[in-house]
Amino acid sequence: MKRVAVWSGLLVVAVAFGYPFWWLVSASLKDRPHVFDNALLPSPFTPGNYVEVWRAVPLLTWTFNSVAVGVAAALAATAGSAVVAFGFAMFRFRGRDLLFGVVLATMMLPGAVTMVPVYLEWHALGLATTQVPLWAQNLFGSAFYIFLLRQFFLALPREVFDAARVDGASAWRLFTSMAVPLARPGLIVVFVFELKAAWTDLVKPLIYLRDPALYTLPRGLKTVLDRFGEGGEAQWELVLAASTVATVPMVALFLVAQRYFVRGTVTQHVE
């Protein structure tokens, strides 16, 4: 009896969480009069929506921009945070713990507080309408990733590092040739987490990007929605096709790197 209850619960969960995806993909393949028909399978089957939205907007350029910005942001976050995390994990010096407290405190700082002044900084540097602000800040490390990678570095065997140190290896060499390879799972967590964050973000592209040729997919998708959605030309099948294009790569990435995402989510819990 209890098993029946659990499995019916799980069935409800599968439908409730899976159906909207199914609806998105299915409706993106329907013709305009049938977008709202809630039929499970598109009939008539209209893959031409993808060609049409492709003609109407530079979807391929936006995808390319999203990949470029996402990879740059992820690489910068991984490299920057790893260097700083290594510093916190492996060295002992006065003020270290205080400083680490400051790192953790910045996690609690609402992003809205620095939104305007950071924009004005990039503006003063002449970079406010480029893609640079979308990734460059990550080079300096960010609190959550520093915390996460510090945990990974702390778990490495200290004796090996001390021995190599006695043999005369420099700290930078210890970092690049020993710590980085050993902490690879942690670095992958940071990389996929930041890739996802950059890929899905709308706020920064909205603030910084003016030229549609530089748009990332979410920023482009907002334009598609404004033009073909409510108050526009009401060609929802095109909005849905573009939404599917923006969603599928992240779903694929998750299916490939699932355990890294879950590990990253779970380490979010500051123990």
């Binding site: 969960v13 969480f17 260097v83 010096f93 910045t106 507080v113 620095t114 979410p218 599917t244 779970v266």
Partner: protein, 295 residues
């Protein structure tokens, strides 16, 4: 290891902290005392921006909307995530599959999510109202009726509850099973076990997610902005029901170019978030148990 090399490794963060956190905060405070439209140099106006914010009707609307949304969204998120985690824990070998299903929406770009739910929540043809219709309910106009816009956004937000559920699932596996066995011997009901063993056992995680979710919820932006603002926002009347604080801040800063005023608004939000968090910290002292803290 000791010595100066450590500082060199921390240098990127220190530079970044000064350039992108501490510096901007000081800059923002200074800016909030000025009128600045990016065309003319900043002009000192004392506390006028703060005075205006306190009497700005739209700030009141935005703050009210935001607090209302948060009060609805955070508890709903916690309760559903707990139920999901409990269910996933009993899924046995299928747990991996269901964890994937529940987590996938978290991977969806919020803009795509907003576009999708604009249709699913549609009052006339939307799938959600069609579903309610099966049970004889006539669903509301989620996307046009000002009364139902925020509940609709909460319904939508529940679709991404997976990340919280995964956290709870991990916490649940750390609650010692012997406690349940002992309770069962004493004849404790499932409800009592949940209330006296499960909840205290994971209260640290629950508290963490409440604080983090609240801070995020008070800054809610992307979904509501995507659905109700932007190119069509100006002409639509329902915009006010979805006018959240950061949306108002964003529009003052980047659409009206009132950088000083927007900075004052940002500090207002900072104070609100700090107050709400402080209340939560105080409450947590009474209700949160950490493992190993007491016998």
């Amino acid at each position: 290891m000791k010595g100066r090399a450590g500082w060199l490794f921390l240098l990127p963060w220190i530079v970044g902290f000064l350039a992108f956190t501490a510096g901007p905060m000081v800059f923002s405070l200074w800016l909030s005392l000025h009128h600045y439209d990016m065309l003319k140099p900043p002009q000192y106006i004392g506390l006028d921006n703060y005075r205006e914010a306190l009497t700005d009707e739209r700030v009141g609307t935005a703050l009210g909307n935001t607090l209302f949304f948060t009060a609805l969204h955070v508890p709903a998120q916690v309760v559903l995530a707990l139920a999901l985690a409990g269910l996933l824990r009993r899924a046995g070998r299928a747990a991996g599959f269901f964890r994937t299903v529940v987590y996938l929406p978290v991977m969806t770009p919020p803009v795509a999510l907003a576009a999708l739910f604009l249709l699913l929540l549609n009052g006339q043809h939307g799938a959600i109202n069609a579903f309610l219709g099966w049970f004889g309910f006539t669903g509301p106009n989620w996307t046009t009726d000002p009364v139902w816009i925020k509940p609709g956004l909460v319904v939508m937000s529940l679709w991404t509850v997976g990340s919280t559920a995964v956290l709870y699932l991990a916490a649940l596996t750390r609650v010692p099973l012997e406690r349940y066995e002992a309770a069962r011997l004493d004849g404790a009901s499932a409800w009592r076990q949940f209330w006296h063993i499960t909840l205290p056992g994971i209260s640290g995680t629950v508290y963490f997610t409440v604080v983090v979710n609240t801070i995020a919820s008070l800054q809610v932006f992307t979904e509501a902005y995507t659905m109700f603002f932007g190119a069509r926002g100006q002409q639509s009347g329902e915009g006010d029901a979805a006018l959240f604080y950061v949306i108002h801040l964003f529009r003052e800063a980047f659409e009206s170019l009132r950088m000083g005023y927007a900075s004052a608004l940002a500090w207002g939000l900072f104070v609100v978030i700090a107050l709400v968090t402080a209340v939560q910290v105080r409450l947590s002292r009474r209700y949160v148990h950490y493992e190993g803290e007491q016998g």
